[in-house]
């Protein structure tokens, strides 16, 4: 065994807590898989019902405001870019730039939620909600469409909020220099989570807004 390896063994057995960025990233990815499959169950339901009620789904989706959906897509894509850039900035030790980009991400997340709020309240105002008056005159397909719409965008919205909280904690850590240019795995994990939220929206958008 070479000196180098013996040193490594000794280091490994020492009492110093040994940081494992790769392990931390692996844990995060495994967690993302569970998120993916959580939504996966809903996507599978969506697939089944769209197959069964394709006409009802189209009729229901006609009410959707494609423009707001598209704006929200661009907002999330831009926020994802900002997170990716903030990691690059932190790696180059540009703390202020990194923090600025994360603030921008938070603003994007908030804008997304505000849009979502207006969309939901518009529909609820028109009586379109589970058990609402407008749904009573609709076909089964339309009822299910809106059931899934509220569940899936609602769950996604919840994930946006969680992602913002996650990034918020990371920002505090950066401010206190707990996350630095050499120790940035937490930021990267928050980024991974945020990108996953983005990816889910990438699928939700065409599935709920673009049916013609």
């Amino acid at each position: 065994m070479s000196d180098h390896e013996i040193a490594a063994v000794q280091e490994h057995s020492g009492h110093v807590v040994h940081r494992d960025d790769e392990g931390s990233k692996m844990g995060m990815w495994l967690f993302l898989f569970t998120e993916l499959l959580l939504f996966g169950g809903l996507f599978l339901l969506y697939g089944g019902y769209r197959f069964e009620y394709s006409e009802g789904f189209k009729a229901a989706a006609a009410d959707m405001n494609v423009f707001i959906g598209m704006i929200n897509t661009v907002i999330l894509l831009t926020s994802s870019l900002a997170v990716a850039l903030s990691i690059a900035a932190l790696q180059e030790n540009k703390k202020t730039l990194s923090m600025g980009l994360l603030w921008f991400t938070q603003v994007c997340g908030l804008a997304f939620l505000v849009n979502k709020y207006f969309e939901w309240s518009h529909e609820i105002h028109n009586g379109i909600y589970p058990g609402g008056p407008a749904l009573e005159n609709m076909s089964n397909g339309e009822v299910i469409y809106f059931g899934l719409y509220y569940t899936m965008t609602g769950l996604h919205g919840l994930h946006v909020i969680v992602g913002m909280i996650f990034i918020g904690f990371v920002m505090v850590f950066i401010q206190r220099d707990k996350i630095t240019s050499t120790n940035y795995q937490k930021l990267e994990n928050a980024g991974l989570y945020w990108h996953l939220v983005d990816i889910i929206w990438i699928f939700l958008f065409p599935l709920f807004y673009l049916l013609h």
């Binding site: 490594a8 990815w29 089944g48 069964e52 990438i202 699928f203 065409p206 673009l210 049916l211």
Partner: protein, 101 residues
């Protein structure tokens, strides 16, 4: 253990530059506008397929560049593949029921 050392070296060095990220973002926004435009055209059953294809391409771009999978080691890539295969199996077997009922 030498493997572990190598991973660490990879980890810190090459991440994409700001320029690459911005190019990817431009691509993503472009694909979004394409998918909206295409959805306006009456393509029948192709609408769903094009929408899903474009969404998949966008997802690949996000995972590959924004999520740094391009620079990750093989283990993470295999993990992702396993997860996707399982997910695909669920679809195929569920539809073996739904489409023949």
């Amino acid at each position: 253990m030498s493997e572990q050392g190598k991973e660490h070296a990879e980890h810190t060095s090459h991440h994409p530059t700001y320029g690459t990220y911005i190019m990817v973002w431009i691509g993503l926004v472009a694909l979004t506008s394409i998918t909206v435009t295409v959805a306006g055209i009456k393509l029948g059953s192709l609408t769903l397929i094009t929408a899903l294809t474009i969404a998949t391409i966008k997802t690949l771009m996000v995972t590959y560049y924004f999520m740094h999978v391009k620079f990750d080691n093989r283990v993470i890539k295999i993990f992702i593949l396993v997860c996707l295969i399982i997910f695909l199996i669920l679809w195929i077997l569920t539809f073996s029921d739904l489409s023949f009922r």
